[in-house]
């Protein structure tokens, strides 16, 4: 790690003030930040430790939303009775992620901003447009088995590695953020930025802005939802492909459906066209597979990750058929 200034404000207001300093970044669980600082991938001059701030550690139910404080630990959210009963995809995406220790540390607000595992991003000796804009992308032409097939660009093919954000993408989610400029609400679909011309910009938060809440709009889709994750080993591994599926069924027919894809895309991915194609259809492995094929129709593959297309399609089938058993 390079030297940094450290400050531990006592209130959100103080935190926002401290974050106004140039280059200051918030830290809570630290599971991504400290890891990447040790690799010199991140070199923040100042850390503002918001981990102990009061008032951001609760999960609350309002009339129309489930509201997660940004400092709720992943492990606590995974165990929350409301999630387990009414939004199993959200609970499963949490407990299938990382390890128990990391889930005890990592916060929900930090987790949605998890950085890519692209090895060329994580090692400063390689070329990486995300780390050093304009330097090139060593993943293209390199080892890219774990990289994205959806939402990539000529400049970056890194995949978004997280799980919970994939489940959030399947629902109507918003995040509340605050900075010295005030509070604002960002639609979840707008939070993560595809690489396009500026892969170094991974999220829509401004300098000094910090997430305070994640709100998921209440929906009957939650009950019959699941998060299905395929990985190289049984646990403590990143997704090769994952799918958050949520259903409202009318008998055998799909009334409403949501599909979030993980491990395969540059950002938490919502497969809207695949959803549209399924609505009004009978849900069978065949129609589910067609939905999967639609979801990956625009996939672009590289030397080692072409398998993510057939795997992703089959993961959509598994997730949908599994969600159906809860409908």
């Amino acid at each position: 790690m390079l030297p940094f200034a450290y400050e531990k404000p006592k209130s959100l207001d103080d935190a926002v003030k401290a974050l106004a300093d140039e280059g200051a970044v918030p830290i809570a669980g630290g599971t991504t930040m400290i890891d990447l600082m040790k690799l010199y991938v991140l070199q923040p001059p100042k850390l503002v430790d918001i981990g102990g701030l009061p008032g951001l550690g609760e999960i609350e139910e309002t009339d129309d939303a489930v509201v997660f404080g940004a400092l709720v630990r992943m492990a606590d959210a995974a165990e929350h009775p409301l999630l387990k009963s009414d939004y199993p995809a959200l609970s499963e995406a949490l407990w299938l992620a990382a390890s128990p220790q990391i889930r005890n540390m990592a916060t929900l607000g930090g987790n949605v901003l998890q950085r890519t595992r692209c090895p060329y991003f994580r090692d400063t000796s390689y070329r990486c447009n995300r780390r050093v804009p304009g330097s090139g992308c060593d993943a293209i032409g390199g080892i890219n088995r774990l990289h994205a097939v959806l939402g990539t660009s000529e400049t970056c093919i890194a995949s978004y590695p997280g799980d919970w954000a994939v489940a959030l993408a399947a629902f109507d989610t918003e995040v509340d953020a605050v900075s010295r400029a005030g509070k604002r609400t960002i639609a979840f679909a707008d939070l993560h930025l595809r690489p396009d011309d500026h892969p170094e910009r991974v999220h829509a938060l401004k300098e000094g802005e910090v997430i305070t809440h994640v709100r998921v709009k209440k929906t009957p889709l939650g009950k019959a939802s699941t998060y299905y994750k395929v990985r190289d080993r049984e646990s403590y591994a990143f997704a090769l492909a994952s799918v958050a599926a949520a259903l409202v069924m009318d008998g055998e027919t799909v009334k409403d459906v949501r599909l979030g894809l993980g491990g395969v895309a540059s950002v938490p991915w919502r497969a809207r066209e695949a959803e549209d194609g399924l609505k009004g259809q009978e849900l069978t492995p065949e129609t589910a597979r067609r939905a999967g094929e639609t979801a990956f129709r625009d996939a672009r593959t590289y030397d080692h990750n072409a398998f993510k297309v057939p795997l992703g399609v089959e993961t959509v089938v598994e997730a949908l058929m599994s969600a159906k058993t809860r409908a």
């Binding site: 790690m1 390079l2 595992r117 390199g142 190289d232 080993r233 049984e234 591994a237 398998f307 795997l311």
Partner: protein
């Protein structure tokens, strides 16, 4: 000489309490006064030259004491490569010039007041290179292929009869190529070196499975006498072959500590461990295996290709094992070395057998399907009592008994002999089997054994407990031989102030150390027995001294008469008897003992002059495959092993259980990814280099068969560290074939390989 009595066969480890309380002291846990902290800087190119190394920014980091580069590094003599009789993991010495031979080569050593400053400064060292295009692996331009028998004195290609002719006439032939991936040991304990000088005397704390080798290597590199160096490694946090040879960091750290006149503690990162120490290189195999109409093997051809570095020829030469597995009548083998711009590979748990037996045991399975025979039946049909190459008998070989018991435990008779025919809980089920083996090897060992009249004993030997249970089994051996309770025995290991023990490698540690203890214990017994039987009075006076043994704290004759140890010692007029013994395996001359003290290894075993000695086992696994995503799990493994005398069922069981876990890793998870453009390891961490986690290992059942093998050594002990790790990978691959029809000729088996086969 007395037999080895059995004591504490199921006893928990005597070092258990230290391990569960955090009191077991591993190398980096030792405290030294006012240490400076060191970090390595390693190259980011694999081949070329350093044009400039700018340490100015690093030097400005507050607390930095010194940055060593090739321009100011201490002169290191360089000891020979292990494969050439030395101790070094590779022959090439970094920091002695501008040349870069592999990725991750040490290019600087930073020493600072604090760990944080050392880390920051290491990052701030900037190198400029003149790179050349490297060759990364098989098939790359610039690799050089050489025939092992022509370049290595140690290597011969075992051969018998005319395999090619026999295969021409065979009724069934399997001809296939197999590949195994690059693997890294990834012991949980990171590499480290702490060097502490007091005057001209150096103490090194470093995780080691060969402290005398490390002592010789460091002394040689620094140009100081060996007796000025003490190496301590009482506990080693996993080694698996990675901590047996001397890497460049040890002498560099010691030289820095000498120059800076204070202790230096070097902590190596996980990523740097991938390139500054050894690993298991990738291999390729061409197999031809033929049988006649009823399944009798008629010919076997095994050609192996092993990757090695430019400067060093490291070969595992696994054909030495595969040719001895069945009654092959005609055998031809050939091993080739392929040189690339990589760090030198080295020993990794069952170095030869893991890759080579994967190839053989996969081919046997393929042949069984081809013939339409049960794969276990085919193996048993071709069992042999004699070594097909030398014609000499196996000392013991319970291949049939292992498979029969394993079948029973596993429920092999439920197997449906058809691909994809078995299902459970909506998943495809496959059964797979493979043979496990490991040559029984031995090495010279010296020990000091002490018995006190009060009934306490002490074993002192520079052997190592790398998790293998050495502390416990050596205490058991001493307790049994000296007739004292297990908790009255103290064992000291991992210290060059102790008599020289064997390298903890090649599964030699227990058998060799116990053999030395037997020799020392016999001398102690004889001293006490002689005094008691030649005395004028006492209950043993006039008895035959050979019939008198140490038992239950007493010196007793066959008829049960005897006296307490305290009386026996009184007669000698001493409170303590101490014996130093040197033990040499059959066919090893006495020079080997001097060699042992000077850091030279002599290991004998497998095929011997008059016999061939191996451990064997049968491994049966079940796999479950998701029919849609084709992801593979291993819910069940059964292993039955015959490996001579089992000293301790608990620690022995843990070794083979752990070996089988390694087999699952080898079959399904472990692969060091190489970016061929740069010849660089890409997943040099343990989040992306996957090893099995708890959830991957569901049910394991193991059993040891009784085996009395007095020929291998007096203790009847074979080795266990590596046996359990052999064959598992083939058993998994064979089970995957049974479940899916996908024949994995390359490991690890990845989901994309299976998917591809199903898409075609």
């Amino acid at each position: 000489m007395a037999e080895l009595p059995l004591i504490g066969e199921g006893a928990p480890r005597i070092d258990g309490r230290l391990k569960v309380t955090g009191d077991a002291r591993y190398a980096a846990d030792f405290s030294v006064p006012n240490p400076a902290y060191a970090q390595l800087v390693t190259s980011t190119i694999a081949r070329g030259r350093i044009v400039s190394l700018d340490a100015s920014e690093a030097g400005k980091v507050p607390g930095v004491l010194k940055v060593y580069t090739h321009e100011n590094a201490p002169k290191i003599e360089g000891v020979p490569f292990f494969g050439k009789g030395g101790q070094a993991y590779q022959g090439f010495r970094p920091l002695q010039g501008v040349e870069i031979k592999h990725e991750g080569q040490i290019i600087a050593l930073v020493v600072a007041e604090t760990l944080e400053a050392a880390r920051e400064a290491a990052f701030r060292v900037k190198a400029t290179y003149e790179p050349q295009t490297p060759a990364a692996t098989f098939g790359d331009g610039g690799t050089e292929t050489e025939v092992a028998a022509e370049i290595s004195k140690q290597h011969t290609d075992p051969k018998t009869g005319d395999a090619d002719a026999a295969l021409k006439d065979a009724a069934h032939v399997v001809e296939a190529e197999y590949e195994t991936a690059t693997n890294h040991h990834n012991a949980m304990e990171l590499y480290s070196t702490t060097a502490h000088w007091t005057g001209d005397h150096l103490t090194i704390y470093e995780p080691s499975q060969w402290v005398y080798g490390l002592r010789a290597g460091v002394a040689g590199e620094l140009g100081i006498p060996q007796d000025k160096v003490r190496v301590l490694s009482p506990f080693t946090g996993g080694a698996f072959g990675s901590k047996g040879t001397v890497t460049a960091r040890s002498a560099l750290t010691a030289a820095a500590a000498r120059a800076l006149n204070r202790p230096v503690k070097l902590l190596v990162t996980r990523a740097q461990g991938y390139t500054t120490a050894s690993y298991r290189a990738e291999t390729k195999h061409r197999i031809r295996l033929g049988a006649d109409g009823d399944g009798t093997f008629v010919g076997f051809v095994h050609e192996g290709f092993e990757l090695t570095s430019r400067p060093d020829t490291f070969l595992v030469s696994g054909t030495e094992s595969t040719v001895r597995m069945y009654g092959f009548k005609n055998v031809r083998t050939k091993v080739s070395a392929v040189r690339a711009d990589r760090n030198t590979p080295g020993f990794m748990r069952s170095p030869a057998e893991v890759p080579y037996m994967f190839a053989l045991e996969s081919a046997v399975d393929e042949l069984a399907w081809k013939i339409g025979m049960d794969p276990i039946e085919l193996r048993l049909k071709n069992d042999t009592k004699t070594d097909p190459i030398t014609g000499k008998p196996f000392t013991t070989r319970q291949v049939r008994a292992c498979f029969e018991r394993a079948k029973e435990l596993f429920g092999w008779d439920r197997r449906v002999a058809k691909v994809g025919a078995m299902r459970a809980d909506g998943e495809l089920v496959g059964y797979g089997a493979a043979l496990a083996c490991y040559p029984t090897q031995l090495a010279p060992a010296a020990v000091r054994l002490t018995l006190e009249g009060k009934g306490r004993a002490r074993v002192q030997i520079a052997a190592h407990d790398i998790g293998t249970g050495t502390y416990t089994v050596l205490a058991q051996a001493a307790a049994g031989l000296l007739g004292v309770a297990l908790d009255r025995v103290e064992v000291e290991l991992g210290d060059t102030n102790l008599p020289a023990g064997p390298i903890s490698g090649g599964s030699v540690a227990t058998a060799s150390s116990v053999s030395a203890i037997m020799k020392a214990a016999e001398a102690i017994r004889l001293r006490l027995a002689t005094a008691a039987t030649t005395s004028n009075d006492g209950p043993l006076a006039g008895k035959d001294k050979e019939s008198v043994v140490l038992k239950d704290g007493r010196l007793v004759a066959e008829d049960g008469t005897g006296e307490d140890l305290t009386d026996a010692f009184k007669r000698l007029g001493v409170g303590t008897v101490e014996e130093y013994a040197e033990w040499l395996p059959d066919g090893v001359d006495e020079k080997a003992m001097r060699g042992l003290y000077n850091g030279s290894v002599k290991i004998v075993g497998g095929p011997m002059q008059d016999r061939t000695q191996f451990s064997f086992g049968a491994e049966l696994v079940e796999v479950r495959v998701n029919p849609r995503t084709l992801s593979i799990r291993v819910p069940r493994m059964v292993g039955v092993f015959a490996s001579g005398r089992i000293m301790n069922r608990m620690t022995a069981g843990s070794q083979v259980l752990g070996g089988m876990v390694w087999g699952v890793g080898s079959a399904l998870h472990e692969q060091t990814e190489i970016d061929r453009r740069y010849a660089r390891y890409v997943n040099d961490n343990i989040a992306e280099y996957l090893v099995p986690v708890n959830a991957d290992i569901v049910h394991q059942e193991i059993e040891f068969l009784e085996e009395d093998d007095g020929e291998v050594n007096l203790a009847g002990v074979k080795g266990l560290g590596e046996l359990g790790n052999v064959g598992t990978n083939a058993a998994v691959a064979n089970a995957v074939y049974h479940a899916t029809g996908f024949r994995a000729r390359k490991i690890p088996i990845r989901i994309e390989d299976v998917l591809k086969s199903h898409l075609v």
